[in-house]
Subunit: 277 residues, 2 copies
Amino acid sequence: MTARAFVPGHVTGFFSVHPDDDPVVAGSRGAGLALSDGVTVGVEPVADPSGRRLLLNGRAVEMPAVTGVLDRLGADARVTAETELPISAGFGVSGACALGTALALDAETAGGHTDRELVAVAHASEVEAGTGLGDVVGQARGGMPIRLEPGAPPQGYLDGLPARPGVEYITFGGLDTAEVIGGDTEALSRAGEAALETLHDSPTVETFVGASRRFAREARLTTPDVETAIEDVQAAGGEAAMAMLGQTVFALDDGLSRAGYDARSCRVTAGATLLEA
Amino acid sequence: MTARAFVPGHVTGFFSVHPDDDPVVAGSRGAGLALSDGVTVGVEPVADPSGRRLLLNGRAVEMPAVTGVLDRLGADARVTAETELPISAGFGVSGACALGTALALDAETAGGHTDRELVAVAHASEVEAGTGLGDVVGQARGGMPIRLEPGAPPQGYLDGLPARPGVEYITFGGLDTAEVIGGDTEALSRAGEAALETLHDSPTVETFVGASRRFAREARLTTPDVETAIEDVQAAGGEAAMAMLGQTVFALDDGLSRAGYDARSCRVTAGATLLEA
């Protein structure tokens, strides 16, 4: 019997980049959605580093964020992650694997860490890996997280929208997170800060989606497939935007299927949690 | 169709009292459990204050914490609360009714408040009513909340234990929260601060229950029924403590039923959330 954790998928609608030499402090401001489609992570301690493995949907993969968690917790484990989410398409799968590994490993080894300590370990590992800046803290919190201050606790500070809408999504392909957040992010961050200001003035679900849509265009991240899908959803009376960072469109309620797309449906949900043994 | 919210029950194991003239800042430090047995709250806006009603399990009751939420949000509503939890026995039912009213009312009226704003409204109303100091923030967070700094956001600051144990509970009667937290709380608070220090040094579920047990005795809050049940659970190899503030014993896993008690069983669960329409 191995300890298991469920970590929701996390879609960021808009963000700004806040680098720092300390990976616990570095991160992003922005807002997103924690999704009931997520990642179930199990760990099984092994005797030494040579036994470390990460199986993602049954396939051995390398994920530096997970390696970072094992290093920081000083443990060796075989990690098994199962998910229905698309990979590298803006759903925070690497953050989910990192956070799920931290939670399950602590339970399995009676590690005696608090929630905030484990979130900081996963966040710092994800930031160092260059695969995300805000997914882990959003996934830990759940709901519709608003990242007011970047980084993990105690520096990071989140609020949220209380709404729990249905969400549909469709993916046309990946985007390289490391390339985008490692490049020139000045214009992107300016657009992200403006979006956060807009949401602060009117904290509603509709404002969030509208601000996210504007952000993706201002940051020049949309692709033709993404633009078309967003326009189709709006033409059918719905609300949609782009997931950061993937060629992925998310819509409120049944916005995508009403516009004729074969979309996957889920809900906004609670934060990451250990599962019953 | 009226908006509805689910708010977990919340059992505090130990606490210290931190008064302040501002009810958002006043509160308690301590630690507890958010329980899957909770309160489902529905609201239906009404035309004027004369239509305000609170029905708790079908019976009209007065609950100043709920009245305070309506006043602060400037709204009039009929509030319906359903729960399997014992009332006035240390499960935070009044806090749950206050927080559930805030969440559901905001959804029903498209009020545009954030999570933290609604938590602050419910917390301040509960503090002013004198019926609780830390339940609302624990119920909003979920899991096994550790209240590191008193009060609602942004002053209040919580961490938590990642464990999600099964919990059993039994109630022998109520305690008057207002009387205890309105009286001389110096010795109680000293014991609560010591318990928090103990949990900080070793943040595990077992430490939490042990520190809670010691706290209840040091604060001279246990009754003969409570003492007997705690001792019986320990004699049967389990872990139990007293819920603040009620003549209620909670135990990990099946600790009470293994000791021969007819206890109710639930789990540690996530924080308060709006329910699907």
